[in-house]
């Protein structure tokens, strides 16, 4: 369907008790587009990704993936069961700030587990694909290492390979370099950049302005649960229209 965005979210609301973390977010991501989301901590960026993935199902709003409405309807039960979770999760991959690798499994097993258990791929097939993916992120020599023996940057690259093994149509990155020592950031960003070059559709929540400028097709600035403004990276980063964006960028650049 030409013109149909890969992912569209409409009027997403999310509350944690009294606190309304997302107050009506609309976002469209075109096929092959890289959208970078910036904003101060607590602005709802991570929650937005977790809502899209239904790890925190939104209370209100709709999600369309490749034209399909993921919400089962207004009278559907609240929480996860009100959504077409399987359809969505098998097409959207997410990488977390804290990697969340399975510590009792080797790098290779981390990558093969879901394809074997969820997609029913043969061990041989899953392994071949995992080896290819781990080689692609530069870890072909670490297949049989356990996560605790890998550096943070290496762990995060395994996590990227693990998400890619499910053949996602859209990838979400949730501050994937924030828990890393500075010298390890580049290797992870390089892996994401390569994915972008290959045409993967993705939403990247990040504090790396340089990365957003270089790799992002569009930058979105969030604050207090809303999208404040969005635009082409160069435009938004060099000449933000909103005072709040300007203040935030000023603070980040001062670091």
């Amino acid at each position: 369907m030409p013109g149909e965005p890969a992912l569209r979210v409409e009027n997403i609301h999310k509350r944690f008790g009294e606190l309304e973390v997302l107050r009506g977010v609309d976002l469209e991501v075109g096929k092959g587009e890289v959208v970078c989301v910036l904003g101060p901590s607590g602005s709802g960026k991570s929650t937005l990704l977790r809502c899209i993935n239904l790890l925190e199902p939104p209370e209100e709003g709709e999600i369309f993936l490749e034209g399909r409405d993921i919400c089962k309807g207004a009278d559907a039960p609240a929480g996860e069961s009100g959504w077409h979770v399987d359809f969505l999760r098998q097409r959207i991959g997410i990488v977390f700030q804290q990697f969340n690798l399975f510590p009792h499994k080797t790098a290779l097993e981390n990558v093969t587990m879901a394809p074997e258990k969820v997609l029913g791929r043969s061990r041989h097939e899953a392994r071949a694909k995992a080896v290819e993916l781990l080689e692609r992120v530069g870890l072909g020599d670490k297949l049989d290492e356990y996560p605790e023996r890998l550096s943070g940057g290496q762990q995060q690259r395994v996590a990227i390979a693990r998400a890619l093994a499910m053949d996602p149509h859209v990838m979400l990155f949730d501050e994937v370099t924030s828990a890393l020592d500075p010298e390890l950031v580049k290797e992870v960003l390089d892996a994401i950049r390569e994915l972008a070059d290959e045409g993967m559709t993705m939403i990247v929540v990040t504090h790396e302005l340089g990365f957003a400028r270089e790799v992002g097709d569009r930058v979105v600035f969030m604050d207090e649960g809303r999208i404040v403004e969005e635009g082409a990276p160069a435009e938004l980063l060099d000449d933000p229209g909103e005072e709040r964006t300007r203040r935030f960028l000023g603070l980040v650049l001062e670091r």
């Binding site: 999760r89 991959g93 009792h104 258990k117 943070g152 762990q155 693990r162 499910m166």
Partner: protein, 246 residues
């Protein structure tokens, strides 16, 4: 002084009855292993039932919690008496009757049931602690990869949880093994009853001392093993922060 020593450490009496006491201890070991394995499995099942997600399964969770609370609170001895005193008179189908083909007396199986019911509840709590100690990010990662709740439990959460609580579970097994002596009240010929029979005919407690020594021969190494496992597990915890993480 000699009187006291002789009352508990009459080596002649110990030697004379060694085989009998050992036979009794062998029954104790069999009872411990059968009930221990069943309690480990039953406790795991209870812990998993307790973690089932969603509103429709709330009754299952509540029933599980009620079971665990009740059998952690009722003395094992009373459970043994409730089972052994009334089970033979209940109108049960033949398939649910005591298995005779294994050649064990009914009292052995009453003991297995009571120990499994009670220690299953204890062990369910230990498993729960282990499940809750697994970082929530693990479940999220598994679920985000498309795994169902059951798949995430089986492949990601439980393997880590069981590893974390292996030492406490072994502790419960030691406690279970000691509690098998309570089954002597329904006349199962395990080590405590054998020792008591000798005690009351010889007016000397040395056979029971011998039984206690046999217990120690098993429980002391197990306790040391528990200590070593705990140290190893703590070592693992201190290394969980990945190298290169800020």
């Amino acid at each position: 002084m000699n009187e006291i020593l002789n009352q508990y450490w009459d080596f002649g009496l110990m030697a004379e009855h060694f085989d009998e006491v050992l036979d009794g201890f062998w029954i104790t070991v069999q009872l411990s292993i059968v009930a221990g394995v069943l309690a480990l499995a039953w406790g795991l099942l209870l812990a998993v039932l307790r973690q089932l997600p969603g509103k429709p399964l709330l009754p299952v969770r509540l029933a599980t919690i009620a079971y665990i609370d009740v059998f952690r609170g009722v003395p094992l001895l009373i459970v043994i008496l409730l089972i052994s005193g009334s089970l033979p008179f209940l109108p049960l189908p033949e398939a649910l009757r005591i298995p005779r083909w294994l050649g064990k007396p009914d009292t052995f199986w009453y003991g297995v049931m009571a120990l499994t019911i009670t220690y299953g509840a204890y062990m369910a709590e230990v498993y729960r602690a282990g499940i809750e100690a697994v970082a929530p990010g693990q479940t999220e990662a598994a679920r985000s990869l498309g795994m169902s709740h059951g798949q995430a439990m089986r492949n990601v959460v439980l393997p880590q949880a069981v590893r974390k609580v292996f030492a406490p579970l072994l502790n419960d097994f030691i406690a279970l093994m000691k509690d098998t002596t309570l089954v002597s009240v329904i006349a199962l010929n395990e080590v405590a009853l054998v020792g008591r029979d000798i005690q009351s005919s010889a007016f000397n407690s040395s056979a029971l001392t011998l039984g206690a020594l046999m217990f120690l021969a098993v429980t002391l190494p197990l306790a040391r093993l528990v200590d070593r496992l705990i140290v190893r597990e703590q070592g693992r915890f201190s290394r969980t922060a990945p190298r290169g993480a800020a």
